[in-house]
């Protein structure tokens, strides 16, 4: 393009130069002609001066010696002016013809001067003086004649030269107009061509720029000519490609960030440790293309890093329980000192990991830290391609989030447990307060009812000793039976309300249970109930045997009563944490869910006339007084399980 512009501009320049040269030459010629004309005019003036001078001198000549004759100095001055006028004519460049005439003029002037001088200086007789005067006058006339003749010819020549000069000026003007017109036409077409050459690639570039601006990254233009625009087009294409690559990288990065977000979010959304581990490992697999991913977590109790989860493409693992010594791993970690490290086959660290667990060409180790402590690590086996710094950063973020999520899970579990305990404590407090209130009421009521009942029973016995009809006797039996039942209820009420001190002895729970089962076995057999016992060896514990037996009695009785059509009664004992547990399960009708929370309330019963609704309340209070807990699980139509936890207490 530059060459083209230079070429075009050079041609225009040549045209202009031609015009300029023509103008310059023409100006020179015209100027020269004008100079000639000016000179001719000046010469004309000189000639006129010459003629005037000759005439003046001639006049002087004829007045010399008269009153009106001028001073000799003036005559001398006039003659010298004449002489100067002739010399001035001679100074100009003339043709040989004019030069010849001027030479003749010069000669005449010299003769005239001599004649004049002779006439002026001669002292002779009047005839001689007259002759000298005539000679001088004659020369003067000749001089005048020649000068006039020359003036005429010069005037002719001046006119001719003027006409020629005007003609030349006209020709030059026409030539200049022609050159300027040609230059303009060429310049116009050159401008058109250049504009076209420039505008076309610019338009292409504009369209391409708009395409890129509208999101069509990577769009390329095809400009082959002119070279400058071709280079510009190449640069544009390079830029477009670069933008596309950048966009792809950005999108890839955003995708990774999204993936990172998804993984971290999923890890934080789930509360189960197992699920978090699964999400973590799956997330890593999504980010890195490898043959397998293995997650190891630290167990501080045994100072071991154990395989918690893995995903492999093939059967890389030779076994599924892999454990590394904490000391070895810490040593490798300290040797790396980074967030992650890539190990290769010939490296000792890789061999330490692989041992006879798996085979790997390379191994990417991502360390999981929490609160500056190594809490685990991730082994990525046979990574495909390269892991960039960005990948490492993302993996580190996932690992950190994983560590935090795990920590959160533990915290969550802890909080959940605490909340549960709190709820239980709260329920127990409510229950205790409720029982205390009911107990107090029951004691008052029992005291008030016991005396009338004793009176009723006394008088009933006295009446029975009287002569009464059989009908009345039967009625009295009913009164006596109901009164006894009422007194029994009152006694239970008093029992419930009375806070008896615990008579703690070393108790064998299994043996106590055997005693209760033996006592109730007739009822169990009668009810066609199959009894299953699973007693684990238990340590003795300090407990009030009578009260504990009452609890077992209540629970087994309730189970038997819950299976009127028969069923399976399962009684288990065992150890749970630092407690002894006793579990009594039936396959009975179950307790509806809506009343399940109320079953330990006093006087709450589902057995109508058969129960007082105090058995479970008393059992609850006895277990509580032993520092234990009692739980119930029930499913309607499938059965109910009561679980008693008693702390193992020893003599201090």
């Amino acid at each position: 393009m530059r060459n083209r512009i230079i070429k075009y501009l050079s041609i225009i320049f040549i045209f202009f130069s031609m015009g300029g040269i023509i103008a310059f030459i023409s100006t020179q010629r015209v100027t020269s002609d004008l100079k000639v004309l000016i000179n001719l005019h000046r010469v004309e003036t000189f000639r006129q001066d010459l003629i005037i001078n000759i005439k003046t001198v001639q006049n002087n000549l004829f007045t010399i010696g008269t009153t009106f004759g001028p001073e000799l100095d003036i005559i001398v001055e006039n003659v010298l002016s004449l002489d100067k006028a002739v010399n001035r004519c001679l100074e100009c460049h003339h043709s040989s013809e004019v030069t010849g005439k001027l030479d003749r003029l010069r000669t005449l002037v010299e003769k005239y001067k001599d004649a004049l001088s002779a006439f002026i200086t001669t002292t002779a007789n009047p005839e001689r003086i007259h002759r000298l005067k005539e000679v001088a006058a004659e020369i003067g006339n000749l001089l005048l004649q020649d000068a006039e003749e020359m003036t005429y010819f010069a005037h002719q020549k001046l006119q001719y030269k003027t006409e020629k000069a005007i003609e030349k000026v006209n020709k030059i003007r026409e030539l200049l107009i022609l050159v300027l017109f040609i230059t303009m036409i060429f310049g116009f077409f050159t401008a058109m061509a250049l504009t076209r050459d420039i505008v076309r690639p610019i338009e292409k570039l504009r369209i391409a720029a708009e395409k890129v601006a509208s999101g069509e990254l990577g769009y390329s233009v095809d400009i082959s000519d002119p070279p400058e625009f071709a280079h510009l087009g190449e640069s544009f294409n390079k830029m477009s490609r670069s933008l596309k690559e950048q966009q792809e990288k950005t999108l890839e990065y955003v995708s990774k960030l999204r993936e990172l977000h998804r993984i971290t979010l999923s890890m934080h959304l789930v509360t189960e440790k197992k699920n978090i581990i699964n999400e973590f490992v799956k997330g890593v697999v999504d980010v890195i293309d490898a043959d397998g991913v293995l997650l190891f977590l630290y167990n501080p109790d045994h100072d071991l890093f154990s395989l918690e989860q893995f995903i492999t493409k093939k059967s890389y693992l030779k076994r599924k329980e892999i454990k590394y010594s904490g000391e070895i791993i810490r040593k490798i970690y300290q040797g790396c000192g980074k967030k992650a490290t890539m190990l290769y086959k010939n490296e000792e660290a890789l061999r330490a990991f692989s041992e006879d667990n798996f085979e790997a060409e390379n191994l990417y180790v991502l360390w999981i830290k929490h609160k500056n402590k190594l809490s685990g690590f991730l082994l990525i086996i046979n990574v495909k391609g390269t892991i960039t710094g960005e990948d490492t950063r993302i993996l580190s973020i996932i690992a950190n989030n994983f560590a935090v999520a795990i920590e959160n899970t533990l915290l969550y579990e802890d909080i959940k447990l605490q909340m549960k305990n709190l709820k239980e404590t709260q329920d127990q407090l409510i229950q205790a307060a409720k029982l205390a209130a009911i107990g107090e009421l029951a004691a008052t009521v029992a005291h008030e009812l016991n005396n009338p009942l004793t009176t009723i029973l006394g008088y009933t016995e006295l009446i029975k000793e009287e002569e009464i009809s059989e009908t009345i006797k039967k009625d009295l039996d009913i009164i006596e039976a109901e009164s006894l039942r009422a007194r029994d209820i009152v006694r239970q009420l008093l029992e419930f309300s009375r806070k008896r001190p615990l008579q703690l002895t070393e108790l064998d729970i299994n043996e106590t249970l055997q005693e209760v089962i033996k006592f109730l076995s007739p009822n169990i057999k009668k009810s066609s109930i199959k009894l299953l016992t699973e007693f684990s060896p238990l340590p003795n514990t300090l407990a009030d045997k009578d009260q504990i037996k009452q609890v077992f009695l209540n629970l087994i009785n309730n189970a038997v009563q819950a299976m009127p059509e028969g069923g399976v009664l399962t009684i288990k004992t065992g150890l749970q944490d630092s407690n002894i547990f006793i579990e009594v399960s039936d396959t009975g009708i179950g307790i509806p869910e809506d009343i399940l929370p109320r079953i330990f309330e006093p006087f709450f019963t589902t057995k109508k006339e058969k129960g007082t609704g105090l058995g479970l309340s008393i059992s609850y209070r006895i277990i509580e007084s032993h520092g234990g807990k009692i739980y119930v699980k029930s499913q309607k139509g499938k059965g109910t399980t009561f679980k008693v936890l008693l702390p193992i207490k020893k003599h201090v």
Partner: protein, 292 residues
């Protein structure tokens, strides 16, 4: 009021008169004798006036006279400050006026003196004084030695005491070159001329050497003498004289001398006029009464 106006007018007039006098004082007028064609003579001395004007910071003008003799009469009337006199006119001027000699020009060949010639045409047949009888003779001027007094002595020495009767006609051309051309042109048979002018004419037109011949030659005498008015300031006179004497050492002066076809100037003295005394004595003429 009128007195004031009169006073102002008188003051202005007085100033004008003083200014005019000052201006006149500042123009130095030098006279020239028509030694040759008056125009040529005038032109020859023009460069010298320009040079002098510049050197003395005073305008110097030339005035030329139609006759040698006029210079003595008109020296005072034209208020000239000096003039290039001929030997005779210089002699007479010193005698009659308060002028003093200053310098004498030196020719290119180094001589400051020249002779006078009596010339004839070769084809005139005049070989001696005898042949001149009845011919027309052209003198230069009565106030010249070489153009008049020398030929008179020459003719006297050859026994001719009355030129009026011996010659058919005699007249005065007024200048040396006019005498030469009078002989060349046939307006005179015999011409009296200053040798340096004659040689200059022949140098310009060598063909004349074949046409003319010299019959008699006078003794050498100064070419011309610049005499300055005695009343001029001494300082100015000395300055003018020194400038002219040292022209040959000055680049501009050399150029002027070249144009004047001179080598330089030498100091003039009264000895330069001794020849005139001898002539007057031989002719038994009283210079005081000599009519020129």
């Amino acid at each position: 009021m009128k007195r004031v106006i009169k006073g102002i007018l008188v003051s202005v007039f007085s100033l004008m008169v003083i200014f005019n006098a000052y201006a006149q004082d500042h123009t130095l007028l030098i006279g020239l004798i028509p030694e040759q064609n008056i125009f040529r003579q005038f032109q020859r001395f023009l460069p010298l006036t320009e040079y002098l004007s510049k050197k003395i910071d005073r305008e110097v003008k030339l005035t030329i006279l139609s006759r040698y003799g006029d210079i003595i009469d008109r020296f005072s009337s034209r208020n000239m400050d000096g003039a290039f006199f001929g030997v005779l006119t210089g002699y007479l001027a010193i005698k009659k006026m308060d002028v003093e000699p200053s310098v004498v020009p030196i020719e290119l060949d180094g001589s400051s003196e020249t002779s006078g010639y009596i010339i004839v045409r070769r084809d005139s047949g005049i070989e001696s004084v005898k042949d001149m009888q009845g011919k027309v003779i052209a003198f230069v001027d009565r106030a010249t030695v070489r153009g008049y007094l020398f030929p008179i002595i020459y003719f006297k020495r050859h026994g001719i005491n009355d030129i009026k009767t011996f010659f058919k006609e005699f007249y005065f051309t007024g200048s040396n070159d006019a005498s030469v051309y009078a002989v060349v042109d046939g307006r005179a048979d015999i011409g009296c001329v200053k040798a340096n002018i004659y040689e200059a004419i022949l140098a310009r037109d060598p063909t004349l050497r074949k046409e003319l011949k010299i019959i008699a030659t006078s003794p050498l005498m100064p070419l011309s003498v610049l005499c300055l008015k005695k009343s001029l300031p001494e300082k100015l006179k000395t300055k003018i004289t020194e400038i002219l004497l040292n022209m040959k050492n000055d680049k501009e002066g050399k150029e002027v001398l070249k144009r004047m076809e001179l080598k330089g100037f030498r100091r003039a003295s009264m000895n330069d006029f001794k020849v005139v005394d001898d002539i007057f004595r031989e002719l038994n003429i009283d210079p005081e009464t000599y009519r020129y």
